[in-house]
Assembly symmetry: C4
Homo-oligomer: 365 residues x 4
Amino acid sequence: MTYLTSTDEHAVEIVNLKSLEALVKERMVAQGNRGAFGYLRGAAEDEWTLRENTESFNRKTIVPRVLRGIDSADLSTSIFGIPLKTPIIQAPVAAQGLAHMEGEVDTAKGMEKVGSLFSISTYGSTTVEEAAEAVNGAPQFFQLYMSKDDEFNQYLLNKAVKAGVKAIILTADSTLGGYREEDVVSKFQFPIPMKNLESYSVTDGVGKGIFEIFGAAKQGLVLDDIQKIKNWTNLPVLVKGIQSPIDALEAITAGADGIWVSNHGGRQLDGGPASFDVLPAIAAVVKKRVPIVFDSGVRRGEHVFKALASGADLVAIGRPIIWGLNLGGADGVASVVEHLNHELSITMQLAGAKDIESVKTTELL
Amino acid sequence: MTYLTSTDEHAVEIVNLKSLEALVKERMVAQGNRGAFGYLRGAAEDEWTLRENTESFNRKTIVPRVLRGIDSADLSTSIFGIPLKTPIIQAPVAAQGLAHMEGEVDTAKGMEKVGSLFSISTYGSTTVEEAAEAVNGAPQFFQLYMSKDDEFNQYLLNKAVKAGVKAIILTADSTLGGYREEDVVSKFQFPIPMKNLESYSVTDGVGKGIFEIFGAAKQGLVLDDIQKIKNWTNLPVLVKGIQSPIDALEAITAGADGIWVSNHGGRQLDGGPASFDVLPAIAAVVKKRVPIVFDSGVRRGEHVFKALASGADLVAIGRPIIWGLNLGGADGVASVVEHLNHELSITMQLAGAKDIESVKTTELL
Amino acid sequence: MTYLTSTDEHAVEIVNLKSLEALVKERMVAQGNRGAFGYLRGAAEDEWTLRENTESFNRKTIVPRVLRGIDSADLSTSIFGIPLKTPIIQAPVAAQGLAHMEGEVDTAKGMEKVGSLFSISTYGSTTVEEAAEAVNGAPQFFQLYMSKDDEFNQYLLNKAVKAGVKAIILTADSTLGGYREEDVVSKFQFPIPMKNLESYSVTDGVGKGIFEIFGAAKQGLVLDDIQKIKNWTNLPVLVKGIQSPIDALEAITAGADGIWVSNHGGRQLDGGPASFDVLPAIAAVVKKRVPIVFDSGVRRGEHVFKALASGADLVAIGRPIIWGLNLGGADGVASVVEHLNHELSITMQLAGAKDIESVKTTELL
Amino acid sequence: MTYLTSTDEHAVEIVNLKSLEALVKERMVAQGNRGAFGYLRGAAEDEWTLRENTESFNRKTIVPRVLRGIDSADLSTSIFGIPLKTPIIQAPVAAQGLAHMEGEVDTAKGMEKVGSLFSISTYGSTTVEEAAEAVNGAPQFFQLYMSKDDEFNQYLLNKAVKAGVKAIILTADSTLGGYREEDVVSKFQFPIPMKNLESYSVTDGVGKGIFEIFGAAKQGLVLDDIQKIKNWTNLPVLVKGIQSPIDALEAITAGADGIWVSNHGGRQLDGGPASFDVLPAIAAVVKKRVPIVFDSGVRRGEHVFKALASGADLVAIGRPIIWGLNLGGADGVASVVEHLNHELSITMQLAGAKDIESVKTTELL
């Protein structure tokens, strides 16, 4: 049976990001896609880490500074020399075709509209080539779930390089699926193919659960895999899923060009720390040698500000962008980032930070 | 269409200040003024800082002292040589015509009745002259939202000086409107003019939202603006919206005659600290060189006591006074202060503090 | 109109002390005594300190010790040489006639039954003589609310001495009534006389609220009042309502024979610390020179244990004993203490403390 | 009247352990066994320590480590030279016949199925011989509630030795029954015999409450009892119910071969610390001289991980195994351990710990 989901293509009026989840739930359940919604929304076990991810931002406060002559807030920044209009980028999310018939194509277009960065997942509903063709040279990264089969890894990375991606994101935190109870209860299986897989002689994921998908990937990832990918692609490699300062150090020593601090939105290890709580210690050891991308729990411009002030260079958004995708396609994705940009720029003005550099040097209380 | 709101003029029986909000909500909604009520009540984003403002008082406790021969509590105090019967003053609030047909005129009269201080906002529904004429020489301050246009600033301050105000309050925390979701949802626009604006060739605010109003004001406020205002007016200048000790120090160095510790009742930057939490560190750097006014979250005489014991010289009340204005006009405003005075005097007696100086030297636990 | 309340006289089956309040509420409301119940139950303002009083016990834990050869728990102890079968005594409570037609007479009998201590309040529904006559030589203390009129104070203390009380409790924390909202809302006035007052030319309290009663008493209590009472009575004087180590020290220096750590069950100053939270610091300055009685918030044998382990010599119970009085008269009062004794003895056995001295030397975590 | 309970014998589908309690409650209440369910589920007084036991695991977090080449997680371990397939063992629970007609026989079989350890209680519904015969040489321990009568103790231990148990667990925390309100309210009495008792001239417990059962046992346990048991049995002795580092030290000095950190699942002393909170300090003094078994509050593989990382060598499960027993007999017991094994192995893989030794050397945050 064909999987049917949103085909909406329009800007979305947004009061705040948290309110989008309920809207999307209603729509997806009405279309019979409760399991798919659960997969997109859910997290591991008690979802304690999921909640902590957002709660943790309340443990630090922004002390507003005044009379500093701030006329307006400049959100522009860059990574690896790529200029971005905002520090808010998209976190790679698998199987976006669950949320919208256009899948990653629309997400890529949305991120292009706002002058920001799109990353395509190995487990995307769209090939890396299709995502690249959807936009006119806007920057894209490729998120690699490494296979046990190095030939397949090379095949895949080769496609990504040819498609013109600017960096590789090596996912390190998912050598096994987290124990996500909502998927267990709904017995969720992917109803649509993972197109990057189907072009090779591997399963395309249809009819599999996430636990099987991750099980088929490589468990025993090692630090040397970083250099291996660099050699294969000649591209910068970010290691995604770092929560420990030691891992950050070792990854940099092993050649990582960027550290992506993330706990996979609480979807992998429950009972681990909030991602925001570990960021300062990681930033302290990274010492600005490579850029830090941060994700997990960000729902407010205020959270973006606090992450930047705690050591992040870019801040990635996962689920809320998928909600925007469902609600309005490419324009919906853009609406989500624009709304966060709006909140961030108000926060910056009221905090007395005129640009991203100023935000980064703000001390939180 | 004419905006209709309360015309009540009578004392209000008050059990506690928190209970007033629901009463006023019921009345304003019944009169069709839900949006106006939302504007008066609301705060920024998740309203986390709003809640923290009041919650934070629970993080310090008053250790009662006994057998100290306290016969009664004397609440009298002063600022800039102006005697006051109570340390509880009124925090300037814009557009009080939303709550009562008499607007600031009644608030001014109410504060006169209790021998305390009234401050009129640039964005008041009443002109500074009307407010001054409403009372017979009772002390008033003028709260300035600085314009991009210095000629207008001088015009406005000149009016204030002629009206006889005793000090200028420079609002530093509102170079942009906070992201107040209740206003966003209700698409709130001011239904009544801001009379101090309409006498000059600027918009009087009718049909505008608060985000536009603040947008029209000066964003790039600087420390030198303090001295500029002092030169123009020859009056003491308090800087309102200070949350950082560094800002307090710099403002004093730049000539400020008073520091007003406030986060605008949580209406501007959400995710900032509770105002009470930052007060001790600010008091520590101010070192009694200039008076400190405190606001944000005060709902109990106990809160007034704790703020005074943490470094404040005066404590200002915002929303609850507006609730009193709605419920009973000038007498309602007086009822609110009298009730707080009652709670404060009981707290002082039970804590063993005979006057405001004793309160200030009380150590909290 | 005559005030009618419980006449029950029987033992009460008790699961735990917290459950008694709801039972009593139902009974007293059914008899038309909602206001009287509110007066007995209520506390000041937000009742934050009331709640903290009990919550605070959770901030310390008893680390159970094992294999220490504890055969059974011995609860006996003493104060001023008076042997007691339990460290659990009764906290003086005014106007017990509100809860039971026999008032303090039954409470005194109940405390005698369990071999513990009864204290009669100046504001009791029963005279000190009647309470003394109710029992056959069981120890009683007299709680003094000092009057502005020293002749009345002497008259009253003289009655107490003649009635045979063993000590005087000087109430130091109530020079004014706390702001108790439940009484304000119900406009509670005492429906029955305070008999110790009516024998002298002062109001007996009928038709007055607690705020007026306390207002008629002496506000400006001083340290010298301790010695004055000792001279008048030649009895040990305990100062009740101590929350500050400095006050404890000064009271001892001024001649106090005992320190009663209490915040009046949260009925006086709201926003003050939990009584249990200040106990260790007070015990540290008292250094066992005089006994410490503790009250406020105790609802479990575990709480008694924790208070004793934090420096208390005796632990007093207020409201729950009044609930026992209402439910079963003298036997009901005894049931409450017996239940707490039962919980305490289990706690001692499981904690590995064989007697009250062992409890006092237990270190909490 | 004969007591009737579950006779189910099948594997149980488990989403998480917490959800089992409600299922079992529904079944047992439907069979008229509400009191028995209450006895199995309940804990002492306010059940604060019960809740803290599980909550406390949230006070430490597992910082996931990545790129460490972990291919799979090996759960095998051992105690006293006995190999175990998992560090998750069964905590001895009395009267398992309440949950299933086969009682401890099925639990023993279930633990054998998963290659783990079963311990039979003195107060079991099954004799130690029956439990031993149920399995084919799978390891079992015997949990001793010591009697006042040493002849009975020797008689009982002799039976256990002959039945082939590998170690004796001396229960030290239950010289009296905790004050369990659910049993008090339901007036719970054991409807089935404790078979280890009935073969000797002592009560078999039928028609008694737990408070009477424990009352009949020896209160004054001493350190010398450890050596006494060792002499009688020539078996290793674990002391169960240790919460204090001093007790752990003294028990080892007195000859204990293992320390069992437990607060009896919150069933004994309420107001004591969470068992997990005291584990690190105990491990610090034990210094790996003897193995540490941990129980109380464990409901997740994540909790097992955190306990092992805090000093435990084995982690025991109480109530959830009884729920499994009720839901599916021996297979249900196995399902519970298998589910926890599954969660634990995911946690290990995601945390970067390849075996139990690695878990033990993981530092929590």
